[in-house]
């Protein structure tokens, strides 16, 4: 591994907290992690190490952070309170910010209709179950517009605004 290419301050860009630095590689995060069963496995400890070392290229290429099931077992069990789930989210944020292909398409859906999927359109089924019509934001264009305006002020939306434009 060539260390001269690594960025020693990368951790500050990704997960700028002492929590991360407290990690002593004990592997507690690994043993109960559901996504560690994956192939390739999610190895939280290794991600922490890559962040600390500042292995920018390797980290940018690593998909495993996205396999996390967000169960947060690692947060509960981590003896050093590294808050590994927070770190995983931070790695994803950094990847999204540095590689537009990493930006999850689901945010476009949320931008367009408030949700990742169509909610409240299954009126017939709902009626058969005796359920009321849902006052979802999808059906309230003015309110949705306000939400979109707000999102437009956030980095991920403003920097990738082409993804959100009306076709």
């Amino acid at each position: 591994m060539d260390f001269s290419e690594s960025d020693k301050n990368l951790w500050k860009a990704i997960y700028n907290t002492k929590d991360l630095l407290h990690c002593f590689n004990c592997s507690t995060c690994l043993s109960g992690c559901p996504a560690s069963h994956g192939n390739p496995p999610l190895l939280v400890r290794n991600l922490a190490r890559m962040v600390v070392y500042g292995l920018e290229d390797d980290l940018l290429d690593d998909d495993t952070a996205w396999a996390c099931v967000s169960c947060s077992r690692c947060e509960e069990m981590c003896p050093m309170d590294v808050k590994p789930f927070e770190m995983i989210l931070s790695i994803r944020k950094w990847q999204s910010a540095n590689d537009e292909t990493r930006v999850p398409p689901s945010i476009v859906e949320i931008y367009k209709r408030g949700y990742t999927q169509s909610v409240g359109t299954n009126t017939e089924l709902r009626e058969s179950l005796g359920l009321p019509e849902l006052p979802t934001i999808t059906k309230m264009p003015e309110m949705l517009k306000l939400y979109q305006e707000m999102l437009m002020k956030t980095p991920v939306v403003s920097e990738n605004d082409y993804m959100f434009s009306e076709e």
Binding site: M1, D2, F3, S4, K8, K18, L21, H22, C23, F24, N25, C26, S27, T28, L30, S31, G32, S36, H37, P41, L43, R45, N46, R49, M50, V52, Y53, L55, R73, M77, C78, P79, M80, D81
Partner: protein, 1038 residues
């Protein structure tokens, strides 16, 4: 024969091993001790431990006095402690402490036991009828006990009590009690006592699996136990007669796992410290499990760092590896109970980079010490405030001395201590208390005259027999007293038989004394129940009546008949019981008849101490002794005082300032009238024994020999920074040792402001097997990890941008030092572990080191050009140790450090009585630990030098020169090192104070030339003859 002796009373609160040690030390000098414990028993955690590292045996008795052993009743320490100067108050809480040093008033609350233990015969009739069963805390709830119970199953006498929380007050025990000593209405009793000083030794709380949330992932089965519970499982007196079985179903356990750091090294749970003891605890248990359970037992230890930092710890670890203990560097989240009751754990195996789900029969959790819990309460008791860490505030350099005068602390209460530190601190606390009392001049003149024993020479042996009929017990006894008396009187060697009531009472003793004063007999037997409790009172009584101590036997009547002497009379068996008692007494009389009159050796004591080495430990010990009026010769090889730390270490990570501290100490040393300093001097030879050593020293400046007389000596030679030729050391200006870096940073000669990468390598030339030519330190130097962190933090301050790597094998930041490790990571210092198989490699490129090492987490090689490479080369023993060892005939281990008498129980003593060790001469240690040992060594020395003479025991071994062939088998076998071969005289010499009369020499000697006085073959044969004589006492044979 009046003599000035120290006196005073000291409260020792807490009767675990450190408290007991402090109490014994004080009692030995002559102080009175109140030894309390909040629990119903004494012995603390150690009462539960059968086996201690590194011997894997119990060695608790080794903390008993060596020379004054006849003043204490010497029993197995796990059974109990008896010393005439120690008043033991179990089940007693200290409710208040008022007043000042030298004048404390303490209020004690003795909890009701509901059983008068003085009168209880301990046979436990009550236990067999008690209908209540509750979990037995002694066996960690692995077994059940009754509401009336023996808190420690092996203690003597059996200190029974009633657990009132469990008791249903059914009264069955009261009805059945043959001695009528149960009172279910008993009340707690308060008392007020005056003491001069207080030693707190209330120990530590252990992490409790039931109490803490983070243990819940493990609490899935009875087969997940704490390490202390596992001790009870493998104990011969424990739950399964010592075989390794599962608590859940009693099936043999073959696959065992240990989980380290349970309840420690956990910042999330606010426990960012290392419990210090658990790694060795687990290692020992894993080794024992292999040894006891057989070769097919699989043992795995899950760990983060194996903290084998103490003396000989690393070699023990190597032994564990050799016998097949498996080590997995992974912290595991929890355990899963499978339907077939096996315990399954999933872990990441870094070597194969694969997850493994492994099954175990039992899982042992290394539950650590929890240091803070009781400190607040104790501080309130003393009307002081806890320090920032929540601990009792101690003096900066003295771990055992609280900021409040007159109050001392020892054992685990100080923090996270192991057994040897518990011992050192117990001795040191006793020493500090004795220094205080010496300052306060609390002394009295002992004036009692003891008559010379009546002459025995050429007199026919005539035995006086005194039997206690113990109140009305004799009426009920199954032994026919009248018949017994008649039978004994018929013996020619018996002059008289006196049946006395209640020998234990003052009146009883008075009656016996009057009777004995008139007696014509020259030998004496006193038989009573549980006489070991007041053995010394009876001894003194015999002495006053003029009986020689060696011609006097105290026997326990309640145990000479195997069913119990005072077993209530039944219709059957009176004759058998009486005959049995008679035969026992007859055998004792036959032995006593042949016993020679033994005399104690009275050794004059030269009240001067010799201290070798004027480092901080040596200076501290010297000053401690001088302050108590002992003259000290302090020998220093160089022309400077202070040793390594006192001259080179300005500041330590825990805010100590060794150099300025050493300067203060130097001034005190130079000014003190009792201290004679010999600079530029070396010890070349010594001879003599306790009280009378003569040591030859060579003055290198004046080229002359000086002869010094002294009563005892402390070796405090210190150590030096280790040397190395590894990692291009010596070939580049940028490859330095930690000491060179520290000096360079202190003086400003090393500029790190432009550095980009600084790499440190730990364990350079350390913790590796010594292999033929290859010289290595096969031990952990203990201070390097903390030292490297300290230097790294300094570097970080000087250069916030540099990358600082510490390449380590196991971070030895034990105890509270763990917080420095955490702090260092927080400051961005990167720690990378390596193993002996993956040592870092260094090449020089344009004079600068380039490091290549395996990153174990990412499993890839990293190459770093380093601006500086700093090597932690460990601590080497002083080269002069071997010469000094030769001069004093003291053993030096293969690493060049001195070998103490026992690594756990006698850490500052040598086998040879009168010689002590302190500081790095013993092994590498921190400054505070060195000071602690110095204080302890000074105390051990003071114990003998405080008087003008000491007495050896009556029974010691001797040599019949005429038949001795000088084969020296006895010298080799003597476990105390009391025997030596004098080459000049060509004789075997026995060091009287050191000999403990164990008899090993007698067994080893093929010519009967080694004899334990008072244990001749003739006597033993007489005893056997008597026991086989089948004397019918006039009863018809049945």
């Amino acid at each position: 024969m009046a003599e000035k002796k120290p006196t005073g009373t000291i409260l020792v609160a807490g009767a675990g091993v450190s408290g007991i040690k402090a109490a014994i030390e004080l009692a030995e000098i002559g102080y009175k001790v109140l030894l309390t414990d909040a629990s119903p028993q004494i012995g603390g955690i150690l009462a539960k431990l059968d086996n201690q590292f590194p011997t894997d045996h119990c060695g608790m008795c080794r903390m008993l006095p060596m020379v004054g052993r006849e003043y204490a009743s010497q029993y197995c320490m796990r059974k109990g402690l008896y010393h005439e100067n120690i008043e033991i108050l179990p089940f007693t809480q200290v409710k208040s402490v008022e007043g000042d040093a030298g004048n404390f008033t303490i209020e004690l609350l003795q909890k009701a036991r509901y059983i008068d233990t003085d009168k209880c015969n301990g046979l436990g009739e009550c236990i067999s009828v008690c209908p209540v069963e509750v979990a037995d805390e002694f066996n960690h709830s692995l077994t059940q006990r009754k509401a009336v119970y023996k808190p420690v199953p092996h203690s003597t006498p059996q200190m029974l009590l009633v657990d009132m929380d469990a008791c249903t007050r059914c009264g069955a025990c009261v009805d059945v009690c043959p001695t009528n000593v149960i009172n279910l209405d008993a009340q707690d009793e308060s008392s007020t006592r005056k003491v001069h000083a207080v030693i707190l030794a209330s120990g530590v709380k252990l992490y409790n699996l039931r109490e803490f949330e983070d243990a819940k992932s493990w609490a899935v089965s009875k087969d997940v136990v704490s390490s202390l519970a596992f001790e009870r499982i493998i104990s011969g007196t424990g739950t399964f007669d010592g075989s390794i079985k599962r608590p859940s179903d009693g099936k043999t356990a073959k696959r065992l796992a240990w989980i380290q750091c349970m309840g420690s090294r956990n910042k999330r749970q606010n426990r960012d410290y290392c419990s210090s003891i658990c790694c060795m605890f687990a290692l020992k248990e894993a080794v024992l499990a292999k040894e006891k359970g057989g070769d097919d037992v699989e043992t795995t230890i899950f760990y983060m760092d194996m903290r084998t930092f103490g003396k000989d710890f690393y070699r023990y670890y190597e032994r564990a590896v050799e016998i097949g203990v498996k080590f997995v560097r992974c912290r595991v989240q929890g355990v899963m109970l499978k339907p077939d009751t096996t315990l399954s754990m999933r872990y990441f195996d870094s070597q194969t980079e694969a997850f493994i789900e492994a099954d175990y029969d039992m899982v042992v959790l290394a539950t650590g010490q929890i240091p803070y819990e009781t400190h607040k309460g104790l501080a309130d008791l003393l009307h002081i405030k806890v320090n920032g860490q929540g601990l009792l505030p101690t003096q900066t350099y003295d771990k055992v001395k609280l900021t409040k005068p007159g109050v001392f602390v020892c054992g685990s209460l100080m923090g996270l201590t192991d057994l040897s530190e518990a011992m050192s601190s117990g001795i040191a606390a006793a020493g500090q208390a004795s220094r205080l009392l010496s300052d306060l001049d609390v002394t009295i003149i002992e004036e009692e005259e003891i008559p010379e024993p009546r002459s025995q020479d050429r007199q026919t042996p005539l035995v006086s027999v005194v039997l206690c009929k113990c109140s009305d017990k004799v009426e009920k006894s199954s032994v026919d007293f009248a018949a017994l008396e008649g039978g004994l009187k018929k013996l020619n060697s018996v002059g008289e038989v006196n049946i006395i009531d209640m020998v234990c009472s003052d009146e009883g003793k008075e009656t016996v004394l009057e009777l004995l004063k008139k007696s014509d007999c020259n030998r004496l037997i006193i038989g009573a129940c549980h006489p070991f409790i007041y053995r010394n009172a009876l001894k003194n009584l015999a002495k006053k009546a003029g009986f020689a101590a060696s011609l006097f036997e105290i026997i326990d009547l309640s145990s000479i008949v195997h069913k119990g002497f005072f077993e209530p009379k039944k219709d059957e068996g009176v004759k058998d019981q009486t005959r049995e008692a008679y035969n026992e007494l007859f055998a004792i009389i036959e032995n006593l008849k042949l016993k020679p009159a033994l005399h104690v050796q009275t050794l004059p004591i030269n009240q001067t101490a010799l201290v070798v080495g004027a480092g901080i430990a040596g200076m501290h010990a010297s000053f401690s002794l001088a302050q108590r009026g002992v003259d000290v010769h302090l020998i220093e090889r160089s022309d400077k005082l202070g040793g390594y730390a006192g001259r080179h270490v300005n500041h330590t990570i825990d805010d100590l300032e060794p150099v300025s501290m050493a300067k203060d100490l130097m001034i005190k040393i130079l000014e003190h009238k009792n201290i004679t300093l010999h600079k530029n001097c070396e010890v070349t030879a010594t001879q003599g024994s306790l009280g009378a050593f003569e040591t030859k020293i060579k003055d290198n400046e004046n080229q002359e020999n000086i002869y010094l007389q002294h009563g005892a000596a402390i070796i405090a030679t210190g150590g030096v920074e280790g040397k190395t030729a590894e990692y291009e050391y010596g070939n580049s200006d940028f490859v330095l040792t930690q000491a060179q870096l520290k000096t360079g940073l202190d003086t400003g000669q090393i500029d790190v402001s432009e550095a980009e990468n600084i790499v440190m390598i730990q364990c350079v030339g350390s913790r590796e097997k010594q292999d033929g030519e290859k010289q290595s330190r096969e031990y952990c130097s203990r201070i390097c990890c903390i030292g490297a962190i300290a230097n790294a933090l300094t570097l970080r301050q000087k250069n916030p941008e540099a990358r600082i790597f510490i390449l380590y094998r196991d971070m030895m930041t034990y105890g509270f030092a763990e917080q420095y490790y955490t702090q260092a990571r927080e400051e961005g210092i990167i720690f990378v572990s390596y193993t002996l198989d993956t040592k870092p490699r260094v090449e020089l490129s344009e004079g600068k080191p380039v490091l290549t090492f395996l990153e174990p987490v990412l499993n890839s090689e990293i190459e770093i050009p380093a601006d500086f490479l700093i090597l932690s080369t460990g601590v080497d023993a002083e080269t002069s140790n071997r010469d000094i060892g030769n001069a004093f005939s003291l053993p030096v281990n293969e690493d060049g450090f001195f070998v103490e008498a026992d690594s756990k129980w006698r850490p500052v003593e040598f086998m040879k009585v009168g010689l002590y060790v302190a500081g790095t001469a013993h092994s590498p240690m921190t400054l505070k630990d060195a000071i602690l040992q110095a204080e302890a060594a000074a105390q051990k020395t003071y114990a003998y030098l405080s008087g003008r003479k000491i007495h050896t025991a009556h029974a010691i071994s001797r040599v019949h020169d005429a038949i001795c062939v000088r084969c020296q088998r006895c010298v080799d076998i003597c476990p105390y090192g009391a025997r030596s071969h004098d080459e000049v005289l060509d004789r075997i010499i026995v060091d009287g104070p050191t000999c403990q009369a164990c008899g090993m020499c007698g067994v080893a000697c093929q010519n009967n030339a080694a004899e334990i006085m008072g244990f001749s073959d003739k006597q033993i044969m007489a005893v056997i003859d008597a026991k086989m004589s089948k004397n019918t006492m006039g009863f018809a044979a049945q």
